[in-house]
């Protein structure tokens, strides 16, 4: 529970953070809320030699109306996202799901950018972003900026499309005020990560369904989405929720049980999203 030695750089702007990242290269890690990174350091599972603190950068913490989408700064805390009136009105699924992350302490410090960049398939927000086709904006010290569709961002367990010198700066979520939605999180204790979770948006027969903790990355329940598009009933479609997934096994659940939970929770999500 004692981290190894590291140097600490406090960045005051996104540019400063990127410059520091370029300077220290692969030995450096960005530190946002620290709620994923600090536990790894304390258990000595990660040992970067430099931490670049982006937690208090004002130009990375915002929620702006971008016309067809809402733009969220990467260092915006879970609490701010969960309480945002703009998000509650335009992308209620994201605001609600963020309110289910961990407990109040976690939500007060943890950031949406940290949660996305960490790439944990058990986290809540990644599945939401995948379900609603969000776009992630990354920038590097060279000044280049690229937009990565959420569906292409998560590569494998804790691996993302970000290059070592890149920082996630913004999350763009499409406005979907009228769509039906549901977020289902199944766990044994309220503050825990989901054993399985489901983020669903539904507009007529067009559905976006993201699954939490059903593989190495957040995944879409493609077979269910296709079944719905083909006119299947929600119950019929939900029966395909686990098709093509490769869920993990741990003390809480083996793959069989996770597949079952995915089917049950997708069924409930579709039911709730329709009503």
């Amino acid at each position: 529970m004692i981290p190894p030695k590291f140097d600490y750089v406090k960045a005051r702007s996104a540019d400063e953070a990127l410059a520091a990242l370029a300077e220290h290269g692969e030995d450096a890690k960005l530190l946002a809320g620290g709620h994923s990174l600090i536990p790894l350091l304390k258990l000595r599972l990660s040992s970067p030699s430099v931490l670049i603190d982006i937690g208090e950068i004002a130009d990375l913490s915002y929620i702006n109306d971008g016309g067809t989408h809402i733009a969220i700064g990467a260092a915006t805390t879970h609490r701010t996202v969960a309480h945002s009136e703009l998000l509650r009105a335009q992308v209620p699924l994201l605001a609600h799901a963020t309110g289910q992350v961990g407990d109040p302490q976690v939500r007060n410090r943890g950031t949406i950018g940290g949660s996305i960049a960490h790439g944990d398939p058990a986290s809540d927000q990644p599945a939401v972003l995948v379900a609603i086709d969000a776009v992630l904006v990354a920038r590097s010290a060279t000044g280049s900026q690229r937009e990565i569709p959420a569906g292409e961002f998560f590569r494998s367990f804790l691996e993302t499309a970000l290059a070592p010198d890149e920082m996630l700066v913004e999350i763009r979520v499409p406005k979907i005020p009228g769509a039906g939605w549901s977020f289902q999180k199944f766990n044994r204790r309220a503050q825990d990560w989901a054993i399985v979770g489901v983020a669903a948006v539904l507009d007529g027969t067009s559905a976006g369904i993201g699954l939490v903790n059903m593989g190495g990355t957040p995944v879409r329940a493609k077979a269910t989405e296709e079944a719905l598009a083909g006119g299947a009933s929600p119950a019929e479609a939900a029966a395909h929720a686990a098709d093509g997934t490769d869920p993990p096994s741990d003390l809480n659940a083996d793959p069989d049980y996770r597949c079952h939970l995915a089917r049950v929770l997708v069924g409930r999500a579709l039911h709730e999203a329709r009503s």
């Binding site: 190894p4 079952h260 049950v264």
Partner: protein, 773 residues
């Protein structure tokens, strides 16, 4: 008005909730160094080599040692264990070497630089593995993995066999009270400062005097030069009674370095090496008749003690289970025995309830089994088997155990009333027939336990100096009181409890009383806080010492009032002749006179307003109660929710209902945790898988119900307060109520038993199989 029986707010709280508590880690002395352990990564292996060179060379490292550098190597109070591993390791986490450095960070880095090479050995993780023919031996010198055994006595075997032959019906079953682990907010912590003239130790312990006595003999330092201070302690739950390596190494290394040495355990270390609890496997046969009367019981326990039992606590746990295995039922013939088994796991020892939760689980599951077999309502089976109220003191047939007092039907009837049982049953049957509703189950536990350890000889057998507890009441010159007790509370609110008892006997405001504990130099010899003993025994000591002091105070006041002491009373801190409030002497004048000889009557010596009493109870007490648990089960996911929990406790006289409720609620939640959430898990290679609070599912407030509580009062004859003890009741009573409720809800699927913790996956399997069939 009497304080006892009222909801007095804790005297302890203002400090704690304003951050002014002083815990061991808060104590800072100039020059303090930090100790850290190199721990085994293997569950069973020979240590081929330990290379300390790199760690020793790290700047800021002061000393790095292994067991070879210790003069005395054997760990006191442990079974075949050295302070640091010698030649062989026997569980993951076992300390192999110890580092002291200038700060915590250097110490942690140095630990990583110590190179240990192992030659892995075959290992055993469960009693079944450990008892198999040709099993690897945890202690080769012992020649067996059974380290202690209490076989079935022949005459009991014969008696029970006869009962079974005559009985119309019988049933057999097995239970496992799984390993659970204490999660005190503050893990183990110690600061040792061995100066030129004395050793001072601050420790997060449950028994400062016991620790002082043990350190003194181990280290060869006389007791007057060995002081143990127990500052605020963030919970113990029985796991801070044991003698851990750090408690001896910190003083030894402090002496060697001439500097204070501090060790503060991390949470992961706490899971790896603090003693865990339970882990008993039960094989049960029960004989009964068609009316649900229990006629005989056979019980055989395999207790999994891990690699190094803590002596003699670990061996004693199943003894307590055996003693209490008939619960509150009159069972004519019982035979009970056990085997203690060594495995390559963390040592197991006392954990809140200590042997009795396993017993109540056994008894309460057995009664439900009989209810299920006979089709008689479980509440009715209980009523038919309760020890009749007029048969106390009641001796159990299989041990020298005498239940002091009890009224079990009263508690159960009160619980049935509280929960409105008849309507609950209607509700349950309606829900279980309606597939759109959650399944519902109702579970009972009418448990009894053994507490207030104990009468003369009770704790001596567990290695303690005595079974008493002490209190010293000292009136100050201004008439206020300081009470020093040998009890050593660590969260229970005992300062409030004792102050209330003293306030009643001294006729003094509770605000004028301060209670001190946890310092071997300034409190009378004590035994410690454990075994639900403090209210009953330290409370009694406080009461008797206060009475003595008050009698002398009356003599002094009478002298001042020129009256007869027998004619005096004390009202709101003012002494007066009974019914004559016009002329009064306040406690302040009496206190001053007590230490100012010219004001004293000739036959009263100075200092007469001080008294120290060691209270020795005349017997154990047997708190009991009736709990009802209502669960709802999600038919699709298998998730179990405790929807309602009703508790009726009978702990005799309640000193402070607020504190009693706190103990009951916390205890019940710990019991629910065992039923539904918690388990220490090791994989087949002996690696613990539950070493963080992410994996070890200690529940939080939102995961447990609020508890609807009731109470009955059957005082104990063993102390003048009538108090039985309440510290462990909730933990002992609640687990079987939850499991009985789940089994009740799943009965329609043919379920008769279910393993703990009852995870949603486990329940889903059952539901899934039932639907497949």
């Amino acid at each position: 008005m009497s304080m006892v029986g009222t909801r007095v707010i804790r005297k302890e709280d203002p400090n704690l909730i304003t951050g002014r508590g002083l815990f061991t880690d808060d104590v800072s002395i100039m020059g303090t160094t930090i100790m850290a352990f190199v721990r085994s990564t293997e569950a069973h292996a020979d240590i081929v080599s330990v290379d300390l060179a790199e760690a020793r060379a790290l700047p800021g490292v002061l000393v790095v040692i292994t067991v070879d550098d210790l003069e005395t190597q054997e760990l006191p109070g442990a079974f075949m264990r050295t302070v640091l591993a010698k030649d062989r390791v026997r569980f993951v986490g076992e300390p192999i070497a110890v580092v002291v450095a200038e700060d915590r960070y250097i110490a942690a880095d140095a630990v990583e630089l110590v190179q240990v090479t192992y030659r892995p050995l075959p290992l055993v993780i469960t009693p079944v593995e450990a008892l198999a023919v040709g099993a690897p031996l945890v202690q080769e010198a012992l020649g067996t993995n059974v380290c202690f055994e209490v076989p079935w006595p022949q005459e009991q075997i014969d008696q029970v066999d006869r009962a079974f032959e005559a009985a119309p019906r019988q049933a057999s079953t097995t239970f496992h009270s799984q390993r659970v682990h204490p999660v005190p907010m503050e893990p183990s912590a110690i600061l040792a400062d061995w100066g030129p003239d004395k050793l001072t130790v601050w420790a997060s312990t449950q028994m400062p005097h016991g620790l002082r006595n043990c350190l003194s003999s181990f280290l060869g330092v006389p007791q007057h030069q060995c002081r143990v201070i127990q500052p605020d302690v963030g919970g113990g739950f029985g796991a801070k009674v044991q003698q851990y390596p750090e408690l001896f190494l910190a003083p030894i290394l402090s002496k060697r370095l001439g500097r204070p040495v501090k060790y503060v355990q991390t949470r992961t270390e706490c899971f790896a090496i603090m003693c865990s609890g339970r882990d008993q496997h039960h094989e049960i046969d029960v004989a009964f008749d068609d009316d649900g009367h229990i006629l005989g019981l056979r019980s055989l326990i395999h207790a999994d003690l891990g690699a190094y039992p803590d002596l003699p606590n670990s061996f004693g746990m199943p003894t307590l289970t055996n003693w209490m295995s008939s619960g509150c039922y009159k069972i004519p013939a019982i035979v009970a025995g056990y085997k203690c088994v060594l495995t390559n796991k963390t040592p197991q020892s006392a954990y809140r309830g200590a042997g009795r939760p396993e017993a109540s689980f056994l008894a309460e599951r057995v009664v439900d089994l009989i209810a299920d077999e006979t089709g008689i309502d479980p509440a009715e089976v209980r009523l038919r088997n309760f020890i009749p109220t007029d048969e106390f003191p009641y001796k159990v047939p299989h041990a020298e155990v005498y239940y002091d007092s009890g009224n079990y039907p009263l508690s159960l009837h009160e619980a049935l009333r509280l929960c409105d049982y008849e309507n609950l049953k209607v509700e349950r049957d309606r829900r279980n027939a309606d597939a759109s509703e959650k399944l519902m189950g109702i579970g009972f536990s009418t448990w009894v336990e053994i507490a207030a350890f104990g009468p003369r000889g009770a704790l001596e057998g567990f290695g303690h100096i005595g079974s008493y507890e002490s209190a010293q009441v000292k009136i100050q010159p201004d008439g206020t009181a300081i009470i020093a007790t040998g009890a050593s509370p660590h969260g229970q609110g005992t300062h409030t409890t004792l102050a209330m008892i003293a306030a009643d006997e001294l006729h003094m405001s509770i605000d004028n009383i301060t209670v001190r504990s946890g310092d071997t130099d300034t409190t009378p010899q004590g035994v410690g806080t454990m075994g639900s003993r403090t209210a009953a025994i330290a409370g009694e000591a406080t009461k008797q010492a206060s009475i003595k002091v008050f009698q002398n105070a009356c003599k002094i006041a009478a002298h001042m009032l020129e009256a007869n002491p027998d004619d005096l009373e004390c009202v709101d801190g003012l002494f007066q002749v009974k019914g004559v409030p016009s002329k009064t002497i306040p406690w302040s004048q009496v206190g001053w006179a007590g230490l100012s000889p010219t004001l004293l009557p000739d036959d009263i010596p100075a200092g007469c307003l001080e008294s120290t009493v060691f209270a020795e109870p005349t017997g154990f007490t047997y708190p009991a109660g009736a709990y009802v648990c209502v669960v709802g089960i999600d038919r699709d996911t298998g998730h179990v929710e405790v929807e309602k929990f009703y508790s009726v406790d009978d702990c005799g006289t309640v000193i402070n209902p607020l504190l009693a409720e706190g103990q009951v609620q916390g205890g019940i939640i710990q019991g629910i945790a065992q039923a539904l959430f918690e388990e220490m898990v090791w994989d087949s290679a002996g690696q613990p898988l539950t070493t963080t609070l992410m994996d070890y599912l200690a529940p939080a407030a939102s995961d447990v119900p609020s508890i609807i509580d009731g109470r009955t009062n059957t005082p104990t004859p063993h102390n003048s307060l009538g108090a039985k003890g309440i510290g462990e009741s909730g933990t002992i009573g609640s687990t079987p109520a939850v499991v009985n409720a789940v089994v009740n809800a799943l009965a329609q699927y043919g379920v008769k038993n279910i393993a703990m913790p009852i995870s949603p996956q486990r329940v889903w399997r059952i539901l899934n199989q039932a639907q497949g069939a």
